[in-house]
Assembly symmetry: C2
Homo-oligomer: 438 residues x 2
């Protein structure tokens, strides 16, 4: 059978990795796919720099539209990232009847609905395994491996940079800023780390996981996003003393009245496997009603791990290219006419979770009674409490509380009342807590 022809948009880290993996494992990959996968064209920003990737049969161009308009290309791989011109290129490739593979989480989280509708209408596939958790085949696991299940929730460490920072904060006892600088020096964090440390990158990925888990359209704009920039070394230490680890978690959960979709620092019991995922590694925990908890762990970024997912998509598309479009795996796991477009994403006020609260309180009688009274009035029950003796000569001390599950809006008003107490200094620090049990 004649080779399937691939055009790459972008030859940076992931594009270069894709080329390397395809070339190195060509024989192995062909033995699996039953057909050779050939990269015949690549669009690059800098033609001179890209010469190192040159090889027999690879044409380089500076114009990405030349790739998507090339009639010889069967599959376009979009690896330039960002929204524009990535979206225009993907839409044009679809219009030209080409299958698309993309690693672009931002694009899928933001414009996935429109892109998938166009692909569906045209009878082509858009594959995006590399968009979530790098080399971990998590899209495939949820979309095809767990089809028997009503999925209850998904919780993931889906940003390697922040997991690296949090692991270092815990291990070295350093604060956020110190560790971020170190991570930037080592190349684990970008010069402008906003997308990572503010949780935006994780929210893109979570949006995609939520859609395929529950059969809803991608709705990135409704995701709640809170980063790790305000976490202190103290909170990491207190959490550990209480038997927890702090991770930046993306959590999406089915509730009777809608879907929770939120990224924020989270305390997790240290006995959970996912609490022990350290460094830049990713892991996704999925709770299905039949299978129970399953966990998927691996490298979430990097040239070859991401290329691993891109190439797996290329093999999938190659296998299914000749199949009846109606029997391919639907883009968002559920048939397009069976998506729950009306299932609302819950606003953060309506989310239910447990909490870690830290506050600075005066060392005087009655403080604890006042605080616990406020919580009891709001129907919030306390799971654990830790109060340190004040340091020599200090008139105040840290009080740490763990609560059971409650509605976020209940917690907000309780926190406002606590902050109003004369014996409580400054703001209450609140970190959400998930037990990740049933």
């Amino acid at each position: 059978m004649k080779p399937i022809k691939v055009g790459l948009l972008g030859l940076g880290t992931v594009g270069g990795g894709t080329l390397t993996v395809l070339r190195r494992n060509q024989q192995e990959i062909t033995r699996r796919a039953g057909r050779e996968i050939q990269v015949t064209m690549a669009a690059v920003r800098d033609l001179k720099k890209a010469q190192k990737h040159n090889g027999a049969g690879l044409a380089l161009t500076a114009d990405p539209f030349e790739v998507v308009d090339n009639p010889d290309i069967d599959i376009v791989v979009e690896l330039i990232g960002g929204l524009s011109p990535a979206k225009e290129l993907v839409m044009k490739a679809i219009e030209n009847g080409k299958h698309v593979v993309t690693a672009n989480k931002h694009l899928v989280a933001k414009h996935g609905n429109e892109i998938f509708a166009a692909a569906q209408a045209k009878g082509v596939m858009v594959a995006f395994e590399a968009a979530v958790a790098g080399g971990i085949p998590i899209i495939k696991a949820i979309r095809e491996g767990l089809t028997a299940n009503r999925i209850d929730w998904v919780a993931g460490i889906i940003n390697g940079t922040t997991n690296f920072i949090l692991s270092e904060m815990r291990e070295k006892g350093s604060g956020f800023d110190t560790v971020l600088a170190e991570a930037q020096r080592l190349g684990y964090a970008e010069a402008d780390p906003t997308f990572d440390v503010e949780g935006i990158d994780a929210a893109h990925k979570l949006t995609i996981l939520s859609a395929i888990a529950f059969g809803i359209p991608v709705q990135f704009d409704k995701a709640y996003t809170e980063g790790i920039t305000r976490l202190t070394g103290e909170d990491v230490k207190y959490a550990e003393q209480l038997g927890y680890r702090i991770k930046l978690l993306g959590i999406t959960r089915r509730r009777p009245n809608g879907i929770e979709l939120r990224v924020h620092p989270t305390l997790i019991p240290e006995k959970r496997l996912i609490a022990n995922v350290n460094g830049a590694m990713n892991a996704v925990l999925v709770m299905g009603d039949a299978v129970g908890p399953t966990l998927y762990y691996g490298a979430g970024a990097g040239a070859e791990p991401t290329a691993s997912a891109v190439v797996a998509d290329l093999v999938d598309v190659t296998r299914l290219a000749t199949a009846d479009p109606h029997h391919r795996v639907p883009h968002l796991a559920f048939q397009p006419d069976a998506l729950h477009a009306d299932l609302p994403i819950l606003p953060m006020d309506e989310v239910e979770t447990a909490y870690y609260l830290r506050m600075r309180v005066a060392d005087e009688t009655g403080v604890l009674a006042d605080i616990t009274r406020i919580l009891a009035d709001a129907d919030i029950s306390i799971d654990a409490l830790m109060q340190r003796e004040p340091e020599e000569g200090e008139a105040s001390t840290d009080l740490i509380l763990l609560t059971h599950e409650t509605l976020e809006k209940q917690m907000n008003s309780a926190m406002a009342r606590i902050e109003g107490l004369a014996s409580v200094q400054g703001k209450v620090t609140r970190i959400r807590l998930e037990t990740l049990g049933k």
Copy 2:
């Protein structure tokens, strides 16, 4: 589109679970598959007992051949286990042009080559996700999710019973026999636990993982199998003191001269995620050259977790039933004409691994010199050594050694020489050790 019709062979634990899951999640599953999956017939051993599963449109029969010969059935699900009549039924179903889903690891490990060849010739699918690691979609992950990779090795906790026993031995400090009795009382172990505790069940599953990882035929008869029955509480304790956990691991590794295929108790560094998989849970760690390590964790047995895999296979088969047979995922991950039939499975003598050695030595000068000399002569280097002070009044003590990687046959002859020393009492206890790094 009209429903796809399924016939079940067996309505025991997994069969009953499959029916329950299909009924409970029917709507969700149809939204994914795009076509209703209906169980219309089931063969059972006891018609009376099976009445509890009765429902509209389900015909029960005591003769399984009635199911495989029923022209209305599209997919036969084999859940009776064992080799006969399971094999005859599966072969007949294939001959009749039906797709097959099976959870039968024994059957696939033993007769997979013949079954897949028949299915290939007939243009039907035989799906077996449930045969390995229950609800974890590990077949799909390796066969489809990691197609970009040259896989270096796979190491798995793929038998829940033995992992439960080992977890309990460690937690409670009890011996094998005590914990086995407890596991039998709780229903985690069978009355005759041989298949589990001798590693045979794990070897069946490992044989399948090895075939799909390396593109070789299933070769169960060449697997090395050693169970956990001789493990003592002491070894579990010493391993822990050295920073290791003991797990029954199935390991298959590519070497320049062939493939390692072995099941045995194994020391693993406690910092590895897989070392922290406890209770009856399963986990499989896969090392690919592009993606690096990825791990898959979940329930490896039980009615609904296994049904989760059976139903996922049903959805896959439903989606691909109308596809060109040449573009389906090949049974053993590689195209049938691209299997490496000539790649040998290495005999245990040729396996390379590290070791934990425990021996009872006389408390006298020169013992350590004799032992370390024997190891040095055999080119075996020592990684760690632990010798306890003899108990009050005792003239001998335990000596524990950890070695670096060496050939098993080297170790065998070194052990024989050590056992020949007058100062060493009885046999040397040997447990293999894997660092599970690169």
